[in-house]
Symmetry: D2
Subunit: 325 residues, 4 copies
Amino acid sequence: MTTAAILGSSGYSGQETLDRILAHPELELVALGSDSLAGEGAAALDPRLNGNLPRFVTNDEAAAAGADVLFCCLGHEAAAAFEPPDDAIVVDLSGAHRLREAALYPSWYGFEHPAPESLAQWSYALPEHGPVAGRLLANPGCYATAALLALAPLVDAIDPSSVVVDAKSGVSGAGRALKPSSHAGFVLENVSAYRVGTHQHAPELEQELGFPVCFVPHLLPVRRGLLATCYVEPLEDLRPLLEAAYATSPAVRVLPEGLQPELSRVQHTDAAEIALFSDRSTGRAVVVCVIDNLGKGAAGNAVQNANLALGLDETAGLRLTGVLV
Amino acid sequence: MTTAAILGSSGYSGQETLDRILAHPELELVALGSDSLAGEGAAALDPRLNGNLPRFVTNDEAAAAGADVLFCCLGHEAAAAFEPPDDAIVVDLSGAHRLREAALYPSWYGFEHPAPESLAQWSYALPEHGPVAGRLLANPGCYATAALLALAPLVDAIDPSSVVVDAKSGVSGAGRALKPSSHAGFVLENVSAYRVGTHQHAPELEQELGFPVCFVPHLLPVRRGLLATCYVEPLEDLRPLLEAAYATSPAVRVLPEGLQPELSRVQHTDAAEIALFSDRSTGRAVVVCVIDNLGKGAAGNAVQNANLALGLDETAGLRLTGVLV
Amino acid sequence: MTTAAILGSSGYSGQETLDRILAHPELELVALGSDSLAGEGAAALDPRLNGNLPRFVTNDEAAAAGADVLFCCLGHEAAAAFEPPDDAIVVDLSGAHRLREAALYPSWYGFEHPAPESLAQWSYALPEHGPVAGRLLANPGCYATAALLALAPLVDAIDPSSVVVDAKSGVSGAGRALKPSSHAGFVLENVSAYRVGTHQHAPELEQELGFPVCFVPHLLPVRRGLLATCYVEPLEDLRPLLEAAYATSPAVRVLPEGLQPELSRVQHTDAAEIALFSDRSTGRAVVVCVIDNLGKGAAGNAVQNANLALGLDETAGLRLTGVLV
Amino acid sequence: MTTAAILGSSGYSGQETLDRILAHPELELVALGSDSLAGEGAAALDPRLNGNLPRFVTNDEAAAAGADVLFCCLGHEAAAAFEPPDDAIVVDLSGAHRLREAALYPSWYGFEHPAPESLAQWSYALPEHGPVAGRLLANPGCYATAALLALAPLVDAIDPSSVVVDAKSGVSGAGRALKPSSHAGFVLENVSAYRVGTHQHAPELEQELGFPVCFVPHLLPVRRGLLATCYVEPLEDLRPLLEAAYATSPAVRVLPEGLQPELSRVQHTDAAEIALFSDRSTGRAVVVCVIDNLGKGAAGNAVQNANLALGLDETAGLRLTGVLV
């Protein structure tokens, strides 16, 4: 068995990563890190956890537990300060290692990166977008994941200056921390744009696509799931490009013409759905992509990355089957 | 007193129009038309209605009741077939008279317009966008209202080929009729794009703005309210144009820099909120507009139109005050 | 004009009270108290507020502003410590003065009452349940309001030992403060019982009904509105008692047989709906009552109380009309 | 392999049953019955279905396909008219065979039972409540499941005349058919009691508990999940009884004191959670049970029944693991 540890286990992405590890035939969980729960039994996080799971330890202890693979589910700034052990595979679910240019951190993330020279050692790891390489893997942002799944196969077939990404996410995308914008009295019966023109997934998209795009996120009265509506000026027929890109993908479904992506078909899973439409008025192409922000947009992609880095079955531990209503 | 009648009173927009008329100091309701409720008392629609309201009559009877102003809340095709009485002011809340070109109806609305020559007699009536003229007033579509409030003041200051309107609406926008896409099992925990590139408000926007725009509507798990995110390439500073356009408007608030429009501040009202943002990555301007799809997006605008046509106080009967949470 | 001040204006019940005062023909707002917003203009609370409202002052300053009527919208413990001015009418929307027995506060509210001897000066003020008397008025809890509207007319016609009140409330009932149970990630797609058997509205119900009842509150994924399902063993036909109790009430509608109360018909209003059913299996009577927890369950009732205490029209400033969808 | 067929595959419970069969190591699906989809490929139901599933056939054809186990997911009346094949195990997810007394059908279900004499051959099959016996298994109603899991272990320890069951369900409990009460414009921002005192799960509860209970269902703005709050007069300490009843259950968790059942922990699963509380005011016991109405309340229990009848592992194919947020 390969051993795994989680840092920041008590947040949403930490708990979802734990979920995938518990279902994984090849990973054995050896350390559950959480500074707030250190010392408690696993059931303190969730009464469904019992029996033979290890007790919570501090994140430092979990990092030092000698696991073969470490899932880092800390906040951006804590993750940036975290020093990865020498030999483990590390998948960082935060944004701390996604941008190659350290100079971007202050203005987009609000902090000076504490280890700018280390950024070169990390690979941006979206398996559908390029081979997973190296030992230090930066897991993409949830919005970036959806937009890249929709747009990466199309970069040479669209006018780069035309791209608009209007994305809508469930509230779990903002994490378990308490903030006014996560208060149900604000979220229910509402939809709101936020960080318009200044969201930290924008430079991530620019880095991966090779050109800047206009990206605006919105918050939905939904627990899980994310829909990105991507508007592009096409230079050729885009459907063959999308279909070719995902013909053998275990996680991404390109829908037949006329079908709409549905959150319900990807919620609680690690899959994505993509559909392509054409705007009658302007000829623009509209690519719609849905994922579960905690699945393909976080924990599912993280475990998929770990599988590939470890040479395991790419889909081991993932939630990819079923037809729940 | 001025007399009013409603056709199609039992749908959402009919009921909301009734709500505004009941609060109106100058309008007296003389006929409540509804083919499905004809013969019943007003309380059959809603137990809050009692006492001295007229009983429901057929829509034909309501149209013939001699009212000074007729609110037509029928479906598109029924409204197109409706022959307005000779002398009344008619506000049509359907799309039957919004497009000047009859040839557009088959492909955008799915029916041949039965009275193409009559279209020239109707005015498209969004008071903030131009003076309300004539006796036959076509009330704008809800999505078109939000997009026009955001964009109409900017047409000469933006690159027309750049415009994308990504709009999100609560489910009441689809009416009271039962359809799979209005089933709560579909709507809850979901967001879905629909009629991508083919929605009938697109030609309405093109007609009023003078150029085609790429418009995609989405359905939210929300009862009421609509948010339109409009993306444009600005040619100059847009804020002064928006502020000038609505400086004296009783219904439209342009928000100070940094504030986000909120559905909760316009829900159950006939007001709109607009905010302007700039995208750091691409320099695009993002104009966000929120309205209540049944208020400023339907009944509120209809009564505002009637008030102007009748020479009454523009805001009589409207819901424009209060600070409900 | 009569002058009014609000303490705790920035919470939900404070803002809703402000809403009713702004619509009130006889009340003039002279002080907006809020310790967190003191010094700011009214628009700091809500961009709909502008122009000629006073700036925020501290709660102490607002209390000392010499208003004829003071609406106290502070938390329970702060309200208990608050010393009412000598001559003003005070409506306390908290629970600090609802229980006549000071000894009940530690175990039900979690604090020792700081002014136990003062409790005798306050009247529990639910106008439908008894005449509003005195100058110091304790506004009922939202759950207690719904249960009392349903049960108070029936106390002599039911077996007191049989009463169960199962109540369900929207999240605004828990206030604007951030807590895990108000996080939208917890509230959406959920319903949860809370403080089972220990909620502070239970002793309030016992005090007002004259016997203890089994009361359990639940939290809904709803912004506003509260539904109480009350189960009782009837000793006689209960319908005539309910109908007689509310025959002339401006705020409470008893529905005809067969109709269900609907949140949508009372949300954003100060009205209540009550319906009576009979259980075929056991003969129990089921009385269902809906209110808006911020309307009749808080601010609406508070202003109704103030109106009565001031000798004004009982419904002045209230939201009681309209047929919004 | 054991062969399985589904009748009524395109409804919610049919689709969920299909989901469990697809994950089942011992069941092979040989016929997908649906009168509305007959002739179409499996992907017509859901784009996640593809490849080697059989095409849809009529329900009659599916019933005649010779499967070892038949899941009947038809409506009540169609299921009552269905004649089970001679040798197959049949699990009926409708209410057509739950009541032993045919005379109860007209008044509770609204139709005369077409095969009253057949009812004696069916067993009411809730595995936690008694051994699954025979070949014809009537799967319990979703509300009855939750109430029986909470109450069946307690029947001898409570006053039977005291029992009140107040239950709240997500909208999927009402099925995929279009009705006004499933319209999202009705469901959102609402909670409503329905069929008060007349719901068909009441006689089912009476039959299984041995005494009548007062049961009222409510509809929530939630897709999946059901919470039953059960009020009883206890005659002894109930906790040991609950803990003993489910000590070895693979599907039912009795929570430690102080924890609340959460929909999120059972949604999309076939598990149940139960918690016990005591009401300080009246001494009543409050037993709260949550299930997923489509999981333990329908398809999960059906497959569990089939497993037991076939002598397979009780939990094969069920969704019982994971710690999704």
